[in-house]
């Protein structure tokens, strides 16, 4: 199989995995088996996967509160993630993180983050490490439209430019920062211009289109790896669920989500394109879908069967407890 074909298989696998994972988490959360705050990524898969397919082991990403998609795209263990959400000891962070803080630095995932914009400075740090240690790695910060107005983000844009860091700032504009539309909250309305104002180029892409995202990401990553400094990747997309699980999302127009699901769904778009172009067969696609469905099922069963962390773990992983 060609490298390109393998990449397409991987990309479809990851996007399908994210979609099915999020849908299942939505169900389990409704049932009450998953505690806490959940922010689902379904709908934005092409963004996470389009970018992460350009990254390797030595590259880092930081994510947002809506982090499951980025985690899966970067290679975090899906079963461990499901355990984590179920607050079990076999979780990817031993049950101490939950949805909003899931991380695995061994695969370069610096964590989902409960603080909007906070990943941006961290990613500058990871890029600094790569530059200082000459690893050839790059660091990617995923953020939403809301984060684009945070001080942490703007300072990081500037610092990355001044230090010429190998960073890619990825803004996934899904139209809403919590309940407030991006069209209202982004002063000047144009994040590419904002990036250019800071001294770095911006690349736009249709976030519903895996191939467009991947191409734009390729440019930004190549620029960073080449030592030419940071860039902004601006992706328009949509989220299918509310800001958080429990959000009725009445700030969205009636039928808005349904129309996007029908007309712009990134998975459907991917399938149509690869089939039309003869790049993958219907059987291959179905095979992947079945494999993923199986994995998600298994991960839930495994999570449910696992035990909660022992209470003694309350005071571990910290130097002093008084």
């Amino acid at each position: 199989m060609s490298r390109r074909d393998n990449q397409l298989r991987q990309a479809f696998w990851k996007m399908t995995a994210i979609r099915r994972f999020e849908e299942r988490v939505h169900l389990e959360n409704e049932k009450g088996s998953i505690p806490g705050f959940i922010h689902l990524y379904a709908g934005q898969e092409a963004c996470a996967v389009g970018v992460c397919m350009e990254l390797g082991e030595r590259d880092y990403i930081a994510s947002t509160h809506r982090g499951h998609g980025h985690a899966i795209a970067k290679g975090c263990d899906i079963t461990a993630m499901m355990h984590e959400l179920h607050a079990k000891q076999g979780g990817i962070c031993a049950g101490k993180a939950g949805s909003m803080h899931m991380a695995d630095l061994t695969v370069g995932m610096m964590g989902a983050n409960g603080i909007v914009g906070a990943g941006n400075p961290l990613v500058c740090g990871a890029a600094l490490t790569a530059k200082t240690r000459k690893t050839g790695g790059v660091a990617v910060s995923f953020m939403g439209d809301g984060a684009s107005n945070q001080a942490a983000t703007l300072e990081s844009f500037n610092l990355a430019v001044v230090w010429k860091l190998p960073v890619i700032f990825v803004v996934e504009d899904n139209g809403y920062a919590e309940a407030t539309p991006s069209s209202w909250s982004i002063g000047g309305g144009d994040l590419i211009k904002r990036a250019e104002g800071f001294g770095m180029p911006g690349f736009s892409a249709d976030g519903f289109d895996y191939f467009a995202v991947n191409e734009a990401a390729g440019k930004a990553v190549a620029r960073a790896r080449n030592g030419d400094g940071p860039s902004l990747l601006y992706l328009t997309c949509t989220r299918y669920y509310g800001h958080f699980e429990g959000d009725a999302a009445t700030y969205r127009a009636r039928g808005e989500v349904e129309e996007l699901m029908e007309k712009r769904d990134c998975l459907s778009a991917f399938k149509s394109r690869v089939l039309a172009g003869g790049m993958m067969s219907a059987d291959e696609l179905a095979g992947i879908e079945a494999e993923v469905a199986d994995l998600i099922d298994t991960s839930v069963r495994s999570a449910v069967a696992d035990v909660e962390p022992d209470v003694s773990r309350l005071t571990t992983d910290v130097y002093a407890t008084y």
């Binding site: 049950g95 993180a97 603080i115 500058c124 740090g125």
Partner: protein, 335 residues
């Protein structure tokens, strides 16, 4: 033995650790100064000259000036620490904590715990604190209580050049994030400091003198004022012990309780504001765990609960004085 200033001791600690471990880098505003300018490089070497000479020795890849962006630079330190470097970040004045607290409080402090023990953040944040230089309200605060309140952060407050070098070397070698508090009025203080590399462990306080009547616990620069007060109290026949915790977190509770029990009379001196501070924390510890040995209420001598005033006459009244401390010593002795 070599005599060095507090400033030189800190510089030497940074120098020796950077020589020993090439993962140690320095990040901060004007820690060299002159980067990108047409005049001299290393123009400042830090606002108080603490980092002077290091860019010349280690180069701009390991001594990084920054724009005025505490949130980004402290966060970059946290991110670099989580991914393989051992950064020493300078927060120019602890009063600027407000603009970067998230990266310390919610990020660096919590990585180890939140990520199930699988990630360490060996970050050091050096920062200036304290009143006495007429720097006024926004450049004179003592905020170590805020840091100590956050689980996951370690906090060191060296009171002399020897401890400054040893604690900083320990801080850099520590895999947890450490806030290293330097009193801005102490940089020219002189003390005996070995030229060799050495460490002072965290969680170990020190007894400077012993006396059977009253135990005085003081933090940072307040040890010098406490010493004067203790000398004055000697004239009244009162003999005092003097304890320096050296690190606020972890705190040498054992030593504090032992020394409190020896006399049963305790005075705690802290130049921070009184509410929710380290002095109150230590007083609570003693009351809870050494109650039976107490002969008098535990008395705190702190600044008033006000911002730091500018006028010298007011700032001098703000800081705990030897007279106020001596009065507190007499008060607990007479109880």
């Amino acid at each position: 033995m070599a005599r060095k200033t507090y400033r030189e001791a800190i510089n030497q600690a940074l120098d020796q650790e950077m020589a020993r471990d090439d993962r140690v880098i320095l990040i901060g505003e004007d820690i060299a100064g002159g980067t990108g300018a047409s005049g001299a490089q290393d123009a400042w070497g830090g606002v108080m000259g603490v980092t002077k000479g290091l860019i010349g020795k280690y180069g701009p890849e390991r001594v990084l000036d920054t724009p005025i962006s505490e949130l980004a630079l402290v966060g970059a330190g946290a991110g670099a620490a989580a991914t393989g470097l051992r950064p020493v970040v300078e927060l120019m004045f602890n009063d600027f904590l407000g603009v970067c607290l998230d990266q310390l409080m919610n990020q660096a402090a919590k990585f180890r715990y939140m990520f199930g023990g699988r990630v360490r953040a060996p970050l050091v944040v050096r920062t200036q604190y304290g009143a006495g230089l007429r720097a006024a309200a926004q450049h004179s605060q003592t905020l170590y209580s805020i840091f100590a309140h956050i689980p996951g952060l370690k906090v060191a407050v060296p009171s002399n050049p020897y401890d400054a070098k040893g604690l900083l070397m320990s801080a850099i070698r520590d895999d947890d994030p450490v806030i290293f508090m330097e009193h801005k009025a102490m940089y020219d203080d002189i003390g005996e400091v070995p030229d060799e590399a050495y460490t002072v462990p965290f969680g170990e306080g020190r007894v400077l003198q012993e006396g059977k009547d009253v135990t005085v616990i003081a933090i940072g620069r307040m040890l010098q004022t406490a010493e004067k007060a203790i000398q004055a109290a000697r004239a009244d026949g009162i003999r005092c012990s003097l304890v320096d915790p050296r690190t606020i977190s972890p705190l040498d509770e054992g030593l504090i309780l032992e020394m409190a029990a020896e006399t049963g009379r305790v005075v705690i001196v802290d130049e921070a504001n009184p509410r929710c501070g380290v002095a109150a924390d230590i007083a609570s510890l003693i009351c809870e765990q050494a109650f039976g040995d107490l002969q008098a209420p535990v008395v705190k001598v702190t600044a008033p609960h006000t911002p730091v005033p500018f006028a010298p006459v007011l700032e001098d009244a703000y800081l705990p004085s030897a007279e106020r401390i001596a009065a507190a010593i007499k008060q607990v002795r007479a109880y």
